[in-house]
Symmetry: C2
């Protein structure tokens, strides 16, 4: 062990500089902030309602015979999936995906 | 300005201590990390599939005549909602909620 005494001023400046830099880096590299960063933020709780008949109608009108429901909260066509989960998953190292209801 | 020179050792120790403390505080106080922090993390994309008949059957068997699909990724009964969105919303200042499919 060194017997040299640490300089309090240098130490204090170092702590300050280190703290500011690390805090900024931590916040900038934080992967995500909220499950829902942008949809209907004026509402206390975003609930979507569909009837079984509406779902059936959407399925019948769809090319693939299904309806795809967004669970990543990044779709431009919310509450339906528009594929945006792929971009979010890649950026945030996450694995979200939709719920699919198919004809049969 | 002081003409006293800073001590590099003290400065370096200070930067290190400050950085570690600030990084830890930043990460501990971060509100949320991922849309999906825990469900099926071994999978690259969590997609759930249901047929229209399955949804109809679940609705018919339910007390309230509906099926409630989780979009907060905190349900113990995923892909169905168990009300956990309320706790998550409160803790993280978010406004997630389920998609509800009802009989009529
Ligand atoms: S866009 Fe959100 S799950 Fe596909
Ligand atoms: S528990 Fe996830 S939306 Fe209700």
């Amino acid at each position: 062990m060194s017997t040299r005494r640490l300089d309090p001023t240098s130490l204090a400046i170092g702590v300050g500089v280190g703290a500011v830099v690390a805090f900024a880096v931590s916040r900038m590299t934080a992967k995500a902030t909220l499950v829902n960063p942008g949809i209907n933020k004026g509402s206390p709780k975003v609930v979507d309602m569909k009837t079984l008949a509406e779902i059936e109608d959407l399925i019948n009108k769809s090319e693939k015979g299904n309806v795809v429901l967004c669970r990543c909260w990044r779709s431009s066509n919310f509450p339906f999936c528009d594929g945006s989960h792929a971009k979010y998953n890649k950026e945030c190292c996450d694995n979200t995906g939709p719920l699919v209801i198919k004809k049969a």
